[in-house]
Each structure stands twice: as C-alpha cells, then as structure tokens.
C-alpha cells in the first residue's frame, strides 16, 4: 500500500479518502500559534466530482489512490457495460454506467476518450469535446415557428435528444459540444 506523507501533498496528487479516490486541489498549512501544524486540503472526489475540505495533522500519511488517466478508444456497449480499448496494447476494459455517466449520450464507437482508471478499472469517462452524430429522428421544421425559439428537438443515433435549428433534417450529421450538450453546426462528415 503506497502512502503519501502530508509534506508530499501538492495539487494534482491522488489520494484515497473515505474509500474513494480524490485529487488534491488546494493544500494549505495551518498552524495555531504554539500548536500542532495541520494540512488543510480541498479535494475533489474523482467518482462524483464533489469537492470537500479535510484537515490532517502535518506529518501523517494518507493512502495513495492508484489512479491513472489514459486515452482509450470506445468500442461498443453490450447492453450492460461500455467497452474501451488501449490503441497501443489492445487491452480492453469495461466501464459501468456510473463511470460512463453522461458520456454515453455522445459515444457511438471509435471516439478517443479520457478515461480515469482506479485500480485499473474505469471510474470516469470524458468524451471528446466535439462529436459528430447523425440525426435519427426529427420532425420537419415549420417556417415561421418562432414560439420554440427557432429550434426543435432531435433524437440522435446514440439516443440522446438535443435542440437543433429548424433547418436540420433527419439523416443529417451534426456537431455537438459534449461539455454543454449543445448543437454547434451541421457536419460535412457522414
């Protein structure tokens, strides 16, 4: 079991707190006048993104989290899990719904994703910032329909629903910003 002492603390270090892997965001040393020194850290839970503050006595050690950030290619979904492959080693890992989360709305196959592995298992999947997906279902837009702000819902090939401009038609490919889940433009890619 690898550990880090508080004097090794710095932003970006991955540690295990309350059973979950966290990354250190801020590390401050606090010392009451004649008293014990403490490290006050702000940490982000790598599984759910929540940020909390913890205080440890300086000189104590905390378990290191075996966390690795890798680029993996998304392969397919078997109805339960999502499968990813390391393009260099061809090693495959499967990610469950908790790890894939919202990313599942943007993945159809081949995308290179940033995957956070904890003890070799995916805990977080971040899709590329932009993806191109086909519109599988959308009603023809009606000219002059301004009540909907000039947009209409469209269902994409991955099952996600996004708002698109009225001129976008079924069967077209569109570019999506996965960070906001918003339509960016039509795409010439098929």
């Amino acid at each position: 079991m690898a550990t880090y002492s508080t004097n090794q603390f710095k932003p970006g270090l991955k540690i295990l707190v309350d059973g979950d892997p966290h990354t250190i965001l801020v590390n401050d040393i606090v010392k009451p006048g004649k008293g014990q020194a403490f490290n006050r850290i702000k940490i982000r839970n790598l599984k759910n993104g929540r940020v909390v503050e913890k205080t440890l006595k300086s000189g104590e050690s905390i378990e290191a989290a075996d966390v690795l950030e890798v680029e993996l290619q998304y392969l397919y979904n078997d109805g339960n899990d999502w499968y990813f492959m390391d393009a260099k080693t061809f090693d495959q890992v499967s990610a469950n719904l908790d790890a894939v989360g919202e990313a599942r709305f943007w993945l159809k196959g081949q995308e290179i994703c940033d995957v956070t592995l904890w003890n070799d298992l995916p805990i977080l999947v971040v899709p590329p910032n932009f993806v191109v997906l086909e519109v599988s279902e959308s009603d023809p837009g009606l000219k002059g329909d301004t009540a909907s702000g000039g947009t209409k819902p469209a269902v994409l090939e991955t099952g996600a629903t996004v708002k698109v401009p009225l001129f976008v038609e079924q069967g077209e490919s569109i570019r999506i910003d996965t960070r906001t889940g918003e339509y960016v433009s039509r795409s010439k890619e098929s």
Binding site: G35, A37, K57
Partner: protein
C-alpha cells in the same frame, strides 16, 4: 502604505525597507532602555516544544540550530542585566507555504518588572513606532473558541472536542482522542482559524493550560495560562508570555512536553540544563515576546507571501 503587489518591489526596495523597519525597532527599544544582545545560533539543546521541528547539524556531536533565542536570553536575564532584546535568524524544519519559512527573523525581547497587560501595551507602542495605525483589541481564547465552536475550551469534555473537530473535517486517530492539546488545536484550526481572517487585529489572551507553553498559570485560576498571541489578518504576528521563572516549574513543563512527544511518537529531547540552572540561580520576574519580523512586514507592507519579504533569493 506603498504598493500591495510585491512583485513590483525590487531587491533594492526590499533591502531598504527592511533596513528602515529594523531601524525603527532598534530606535524604539533604545528609547525604552532595552539593550540589544546577540546570542549563539547553535546550541547543544534543541527545543522541546512538540509542535516545533528542530534543524540539526551533525558534526561529531549533534548540534541544534535555535528555534528561538529564548534559552540564551533567559541565561543572560538571570544575571540581572535588565531588559534585553535580540533580532536574529531562527530555524524550524519543514515549515513551508505562504506564511512560514524554515529560516526567519525573530525579534524577541524581555521586560522585567511588568505584567502581561503592560507587555501588550509595549507591543502596541512598538507597532505604532513601526508605522502601524490600527487599534488592537483584547479577546480571550475562551470567547473566541465559544464564538466559533460553541465549546468552553477550559471545561468541555474531550468527546465534545472530538465531535466538533470531526464535523469540521479533521481526521483523528484513536491515539489522538485523549491528547487534549491536539484536540483543542483540531477545533481551533477547523472553527476559529477560518474566522480570524475576517477579524479586526486582536490580542488573544488566557490560553488553556494545555497550551501554556512556557507561560505562568494565572494565580486566580490555574486553568488559564498568562500568554497572548497577536493576530492580524488571521496571521500570528507575536507571542508573549508572563514567563516561568521557577526552575522546578520549567523542568515539569519540559517533562510534560517530552511526555507529549512520546505520545505523539516524536523524539525525546535532552532537557536544557543551562536554562534550568539559570532559573535556579535566581531570575527576576519577567515577561517576554517573540515577534516574526517578516510577518510584521507582511502586515505593514500588505504582502501576501512571506517569501516576498525574505532576502533568500534562491
């Protein structure tokens, strides 16, 4: 006050500002009849205080770089030479961050025949002569602690401290649960310390006996130590004591510190015999203050990082 952005301060500016601050301090002490002394930085004895990490040299026999000039100054005081002060480097291993340096400049002085409140006025006058304008109120440790945590630090149970500390995000081990000094610190850092940043400058007085350090206990209630800390912008600037002058009492305090060291898994320190001998030979009643020069400069020049005030340019 001049600029708040330290990066606009050249080494030349810094050198000149430090020089004039030192001049103001020396002028103050001269006007008060306090004599400047220079005592050794190297000692055979390290500090016993559990919260301090000694820096050591090992050439043949182990020597310590002083964490403060206290021992030598007290040895001088026992010769009845009157009030003295020293300005010089002190060392604390592994201290880092925007408020701590491993080597910093301590201004430490001792006034005989005055009490703690007169000493607080002494600090106020020194600050005024360095150009500090704000008034500084006095608050008790108990008032601060109660305000921040709802607990009475002198009388509450350890279990109450534990529960407030844990709620405040402090990780405690089983062996910490009966270390009252540590539990008080845990509640302090998680509740009091965050409040202090938004406070006016204060002298905190009447520390719980677990944090007496080398201060005498009050004659009216020995739950309270005759100590103060000066805190400005949430930063500790100075620490003052009505000093222990009985050799036996000082020895008990050293032993208690070594016990705490053992409990915390820290090295046992050899008792500083010359210090104890000096007290045994007869010591005038004395109050003393240690003030961090760079910390004071941070306040006076509105600088956020102590490294911007150190002349260590490496």
């Amino acid at each position: 006050m001049p600029d708040s952005d330290s990066r606009s301060m050249t080494i030349g500016d810094l050198v000149r500002r430090r020089a004039s601050l030192l001049q103001e301090i020396r002028t103050y002490f001269r006007s008060e009849g306090v004599t400047e002394v220079n005592t050794p930085i190297l000692s055979k004895f390290g500090s016993c205080e559990p919260a301090l990490k000694n820096l050591t040299l090992n050439r043949g026999k182990k020597k310590f770089l002083r964490t403060s000039p206290e021992s030598y100054l007290k040895q001088l005081l026992s010769h009845n030479i009157g009030d003295i002060y020293e300005i010089g480097s002190v060392f604390r291993d592994e201290e880092s961050g925007p408020l701590h340096l491993e080597e910093f400049t301590m201004v430490e002085w001792y006034r005989t025949k005055i009490n703690l409140h007169a000493l607080i006025d002494d600090v106020r006058r020194l600050l005024v002569s360095c150009g500090y304008q704000s008034t500084i109120d006095i608050v008790t440790y108990g008032e601060l602690f109660d305000l921040a945590s709802g607990l009475d630090p002198h009388n509450c149970d350890n279990s109450e401290l534990v529960s407030v500390a844990i709620d405040g995000g402090v990780r405690l081990k089983k062996s910490d649960l009966n270390d009252r000094a540590l539990l008080l610190d845990s509640v302090y850092v998680s509740t009091v310390e965050p409040l202090l940043k938004s406070f006016k400058p204060i002298f905190v007085i009447d520390y719980p006996k677990e944090h007496r350090a080398y201060a005498r206990l009050s004659e009216t209630t020995d739950a309270v130590a005759l100590r103060f800390e000066l805190i400005i912008n949430g930063i500790e600037i100075a620490n003052g004591y009505d000093e222990i002058i009985e050799s036996g009492e000082q020895k008990d305090t050293f032993n208690a510190e070594n016990n705490l060291r053992e409990k915390r898994g820290l090295e046992q320190m050899e008792l500083d015999a010359p210090w104890l001998d000096a007290l045994a030979s007869g010591m005038p009643a004395v109050c003393g203050v240690a003030l961090g020069l760079e910390r004071l400069a941070m306040v006076l020049w509105q600088i956020k990082n102590i490294r911007d005030i150190s002349l260590n340019t490496q």
